[in-house]
């Protein structure tokens, strides 16, 4: 098959660019563990309220025995529970989400947090928020007529303010 010389050079250049980009992504995935969230863990969506982790009394932010922070949330038509979250800046946080009904998505605007919340599975995202501020969390998978109103607020505060609120028992 004859390929024109100029076209051949452009094909080589295109592949070189694509491989360079893939190489950078692969390097960050391997060395820094940055990649799309992935977790395969099942749960019965119809009995979330009876499960220990997603029980109404246990959702929200918790400090684990090793000192790390874990946020447990339930997505249900049409809201995220808890509706307001206060979390510290520059701190690794593990989010665990489950759907109580249909397929939902969670996207925190102006951050990299974005995942699907599939009924029957627990979604897990590990991330860090480098900036203080209030960030809206939207459902980004159409879940019904109230989908437009399904959102929550993430309040990223300084570490001092967060510790103060944890001591006061403010979730």
């Amino acid at each position: 098959m004859h390929i024109d010389g100029t076209e051949k050079k452009w094909v080589i250049l295109s592949f070189a660019m694509a491989f360079a980009m893939m190489g950078i992504l692969a390097a960050y995935a391997i060395n820094k563990n940055i990649h799309p969230p992935s977790n395969v863990e099942t749960i019965d969506s119809t009995t979330l309220h009876l499960s220990e982790e997603f029980n109404e009394d246990n959702i929200g932010i918790k400090r684990e025995a090793d000192g790390s922070l874990r946020v447990t949330m339930v997505a249900a038509r049409y809201g995220f529970f808890p509706h307001n979250l206060k979390i510290p800046v520059d701190t690794p946080i593990k989010f665990r989400l489950a759907s109580a009904d249909v397929l939902h998505g969670v996207h925190t605007a102006f951050t990299n947090m974005n995942t699907m919340v599939v009924p029957g599975y627990i979604s897990e995202v590990n991330t860090t928020f480098p900036k203080v501020g209030k960030f809206p969390m939207f459902c980004n998978e159409y879940c019904g007529l109230g989908h437009d109103y399904m959102w929550s607020q993430l309040n990223v505060v300084s570490k001092e303010d967060f510790e103060k609120s944890m001591k006061e028992g403010d979730k």
Binding site: T6, L13, F110, T127
Partner: protein, 50 residues
Amino acid sequence: MVELTPEEQEAAIAEAPKGTWAILLVYAVFMVLGWLYMFYGYFLPHGPVN
């Protein structure tokens, strides 16, 4: 418009298409710089995800 002699026309066709190459390289540079900006200037500063 400048008329080319047949010899000049043949020479122009035979030589490398410099203008085309310039356009391709400009596009390539813009695309690579745009991607690098999105990755290093926008994605990574928003916090690691896994």
